[in-house]
């Protein structure tokens, strides 16, 4: 099937998401809440595009819109720019501390609205990626709390989570660096809880928190070797070399 994005014919499969097709064809669409590892959420709305099909035109979010018939898509027309600019400025007012959002505003020429109320010191744009990462990769220690304009990401009752393993997946996927994670030589602090770090028994590089490794062992059903990825590869290579007498 062929669809047109900004006039460029793009080959695609039925059911593929517009964002996927656009990126494969080198067409730029900005995103915040999208991560290739997870299913699309459609929450930040930054990836909006205009879809024209069957004589009807509307704004859709490209990350979760599955193409089901021939259509024309515009990622940079006036309507998209106007809406995206407004969304960016709304995000900027929400997270004025985020350099990423400011850069996006500049890149996409978002008009300024001095009028907007700003949330001092905020970096989080409530995209929800951290919650998704924690639920799918880790233990589901954080979630969205409240609803409406008071919605936020937090641990239950804002207390240090009893189940958090300190893996830092949330901080890693956050597009605006809003989740605070700090490390000393022996410990990592995140979500108000301190974890002891375990280091590679060969090279001494950090391989995770104690809780994280315990979970990995449990999931794998066997004790872990206490090595970092590099050292593990090296050791396998050594075993390999020995057995073949290389």
């Amino acid at each position: 099937m062929i669809i047109k994005i900004n006039g460029i014919p793009c080959e695609c499969e039925k059911g593929e998401f517009i964002l996927q097709i656009a990126r494969r064809n080198g067409i730029d669409i900005p995103t915040l809440c999208h991560h290739d590892a997870f299913a699309g959420q459609g929450s930040c709305r930054l990836c909006i595009v205009e879809l024209v099909a069957g004589g009807r035109s509307r704004i859709v979010v490209s990350c979760v819109y599955p193409v089901d018939r021939e259509c024309e898509i515009f990622t940079e027309n006036e309507r998209v720019r106007r809406q995206r600019g407004m969304i960016l400025r709304l995000l900027e007012a929400r997270a004025p501390e985020s350099t990423e959002i400011r850069a996006l505003c500049d890149k996409y020429g978002a008009p300024r609205f001095e009028r907007f109320v700003r949330v001092d010191g905020e970096k989080c744009v409530m995209c929800g990626l951290c919650v998704k990462a924690c639920a799918e990769l880790s233990v589901g220690a954080i979630s969205t709390v409240n609803r409406g304009v008071t919605k936020e990401i937090a641990t239950p009752y804002h207390e240090p989570s009893s189940v958090c393993i300190g893996c830092g997946s949330c901080a890693h996927v956050c597009p605006t660096g809003a989740i605070e994670m700090s490390e000393t030589r022996d410990s990592r602090r995140i979500w108000g809880k301190t974890f002891r770090l375990v280091r590679c028994s060969r090279c001494g590089a950090v391989i995770g928190t104690e809780e994280e490794l315990a979970m990995a062992a449990e999931r794998a059903g066997q004790e872990q070797d206490g090595l970092c990825n590099t050292c593990r590869q090296e050791r396998i290579a050594e075993v390999f070399a020995q057995s073949y007498g290389v």
Binding site: R45, L46, Q83, M86, F116, M126, R147, V149, K151
Partner: protein, 664 residues
């Protein structure tokens, strides 16, 4: 044998109908009554304002606002002798007492289909429902093929009564077309629009009709399991519905073999936690699954992948209540009622500043004027009509000039409002349209799920702007910004809640722009509602010196000698409006308040956002108003000089602000 129907719906219960019913039961069981009678506790009769309602059959005499102390007289006269108790009858607009419900102007134009049994039967007694032809439609549907049921639904033209108006037949047919099992039937009883209670009345008053509708749907699409999602605040509805499911299973109407057909259908109640957004179909399904109630993009529809990713038909309570009627009486007859695009009837809740408030069901296509004036009796206290808010937070405010529009799914939408689920809030000249818009945006700020940016952040900014306008800190550029925000929210929000959230703002901007302008340019709230912009005074020519205002004033600002014109001390007045409410001669009038002069240079918009976040009194009110007030201050008719500036000290302003905050 006479029947005494006592309305025991939430509305009438609140007016004490349970005591009335108990008194009837107690006294009629005694030996004093010569004629045999039995007392029936029914659901809502609609005219909740005049509850508790009592109807005597077969005489067809309806009594209103009945107290337990009236019971002996009713028993003696009406049950014993067949005579009416005059003082308990409804007095129509001509002042005549009317016996029958049909002669009451509130009921006369109504046509009850969805509400056909509500208020007539005892919801706890399934035999009562059976007597009215209950479960006959299900029996008939069992003799039909799924295709025949779907054809009937198509012909009927029934559209979803929850507000969106999607054709029910088409929805069912799509779900029926998928060969993925299990399939689910879901009934949306998460009614949340302020001022709407039609679904509650059906769930409380006629739960079996909803069960029967869901069962027919299950037959048509091939579902064996169904859920009814009711908001937990509707405790009586939850109770009645659960009881109804139990009885229906015991009697074999549903369960392991639907009316002996061998087909299964199990229904259960899921209680909603009170989130408005869970009325949105995909959020509702998330909630049933035990997840956070957030909508998802509907690019793949629920009929294909709904509950637990299986084909799911979700309809509103009122939609399901219509289904048995359509199957029983034929789709063609149903389709003959209503308009070209909107068939059948619609239940509306008529509330606000209307003389007769309550629940009404009328054919689609009646005009707003018929609804508000013929049935509702016009605006309370003879005040001028200003607007009617339809469709809850997703709807809009419709002005007088559009009163002759027919109410159906499509017409109001063309004008930026919507029929929605059927809430109608009537407003008079003392309703401030800016404040109304602010109220709905404030409501949605708390009730948006907060998932997507345009809705969550857009509402937050809208609220800040509207609050500023209500406090006299708005600018004309704010109106353009509200429109831009509205456009983005409409176009780019994730679900229908966000897409329709700007409607209250956009419609008031469209039809009542002059009110916004009065707030901004003249620092005056034309309706006299926004405290910061309203001061009250007495028109000495109209004042009769009755002292009603003096008694009503909570702070002793109103004073005067009896029978001579009174006065309101502006320094003491807190602009609560109690005096105006109390005055029967319209002698209390409003005007703009003196605008406080700001610090130099504040009018240049230089304060930006910093000032906006600052504490009240620290300059947060500065923005743009000083320059405007210099030009317009006199036009607003302010007595106090706009130049008084620091004359009203910071402390005074803080106090005024605190007042405003408390009032919210």
């Amino acid at each position: 044998m006479k029947t005494i129907r006592v309305c025991c719906d939430t509305g009438c219960l609140a007016s004490g109908s349970m005591k009335v019913a108990e008194e009837f039961e107690r006294l009629s069981a005694g030996s004093g009554v010569r004629v045999e009678c039995h007392v029936k506790r029914t659901g809502c009769n609609g005219f909740c304002e005049k509850g508790p309602l009592v109807t005597i059959l077969p005489d067809d005499i309806s009594y209103y606002q009945v107290k337990p102390s009236d019971v002996p007289e009713i028993l003696e006269k009406t049950i014993g002798k067949g005579e009416a108790v005059e003082r308990l009858l409804y007095r129509n607009d001509k002042g005549e007492r009317v016996l029958r419900q049909q002669d009451n102007p509130f009921y006369a134009p109504q046509l009850k289909i969805a509400l056909r049994n509500v208020g007539r039967i005892d919801p706890e007694n399934v035999d009562d429902y059976l007597e009215e032809g209950g479960y006959q439609a299900l029996k008939k549907a069992l003799g039909m093929t799924p295709g025949e049921i779907l054809d009937e639904m198509d012909v009927s033209g029934l559209r979803g009564r929850g507000g969106a108006g999607f054709p029910t037949g088409r929805k069912w047919r799509t779900a029926a077309g998928y060969d993925v099992f299990p399939k689910y039937v879901v009934c949306n009883g998460d009614e949340g629009d302020p001022g709407a209670f039609m679904d509650r009345s059906i769930l409380e008053g006629d739960p079996h009709s909803v069960i029967e509708g869901m069962a027919i749907c299950a037959l048509a699409i091939g579902a064996e399991e169904g859920f009814l999602y009711i908001r937990d605040e509707y405790s009586l509805a939850v109770e009645n519905f659960r009881a109804a499911i139990r009885v229906a299973e015991e009697r074999g109407f549903i369960g392991d073999s639907v009316m002996g057909s061998g087909k299964k259908l199990h229904l259960s109640v899921v209680r909603g936690g009170g989130a408005f957004v869970c009325g949105e179909s995909t959020a509702l399904m998330q909630s049933i699954e035990g997840k956070v109630g957030e909508p998802r993009a509907k690019y793949i529809r629920s009929v294909q992948r709904g509950l637990w990713d299986h084909p799911t038909v979700l309809n509103n309570v009122e939609t399901f209540a219509n289904v048995p009627y359509i199957i029983m009486h034929g789709a063609a007859g149903y389709a003959a009622i209503g308009t070209e695009g909107s068939k059948g009837t619609k239940v509306f809740t008529l509330v606000g500043k209307v003389r007769r408030t309550g629940l009404v069901e009328v054919p689609m296509g009646v005009t707003l004027r018929q609804l508000i004036y013929d049935i509702g009796g016009g605006v309370q206290n003879g005040r001028p009509f200003k607007a009617v808010q339809t469709g809850g937070p997703s709807g809009g405010c419709i002005p007088e000039s559009m009163m002759d529009l027919p109410v159906d799914f499509d017409t109001l939408k063309e004008y930026g409002a919507m029929m929605g689920s059927g809430g109608m809030i009537v407003m008079d000249d003392r309703s401030c349209m800016v404040e109304v818009a602010r109220y709905y945006v404030d409501f949605l700020c708390g009730e948006s799920c907060g998932k997507c940016t345009p809705c969550r952040e857009g509402l937050k900014q809208m609220l800040a702007i509207l609050e500023d306008i209500c406090h006299g800190r708005g600018t004309m550029e704010d109106l353009d910004l509200l429109e831009s925000l509205g456009e983005t929210m409409k176009d780019s929000s994730l679900c229908a809640l966000g897409q329709s959230a700007p409607n209250p703002v956009l419609t008031t901007l469209k039809y009542f722009r002059n009110e916004y302008e009065a707030h901004i340019l003249e620092h005056r709230c034309p309706a006299g509602v926004c405290k910061e912009l309203t001061s009250f005074y007495v028109d000495p020519d109209k004042c009769r010196g009755c002292s009603a205002c003096v008694r009503a004033c909570p702070v002793g600002a109103a004073s005067g000698e009896p029978r001579s014109p009174h006065k309101i001390d502006p320094d003491k007045c807190i602009s609560c409006g109690s005096c105006r409410e109390a005055c029967r001669f319209d002698a209390v009038l409003t005007k703009g308040k003196a605008v406080r002069k700001m610090k130099a240079g504040a009018g240049e918009n230089s304060s930006g956002n910093g000032a906006r976040d600052a504490a009240p009194g620290d300059g947060g009110f500065e923005r743009g108003t000083a320059a405007v007030s210099n030009e317009r201050g006199t036009a607003a008719g302010n007595e106090n000089s706009t130049e008084s500036g620091n004359g009203i000290g910071k402390a005074g302003f803080d106090a005024a602000m605190a007042e405003g905050r408390d009032g919210k």
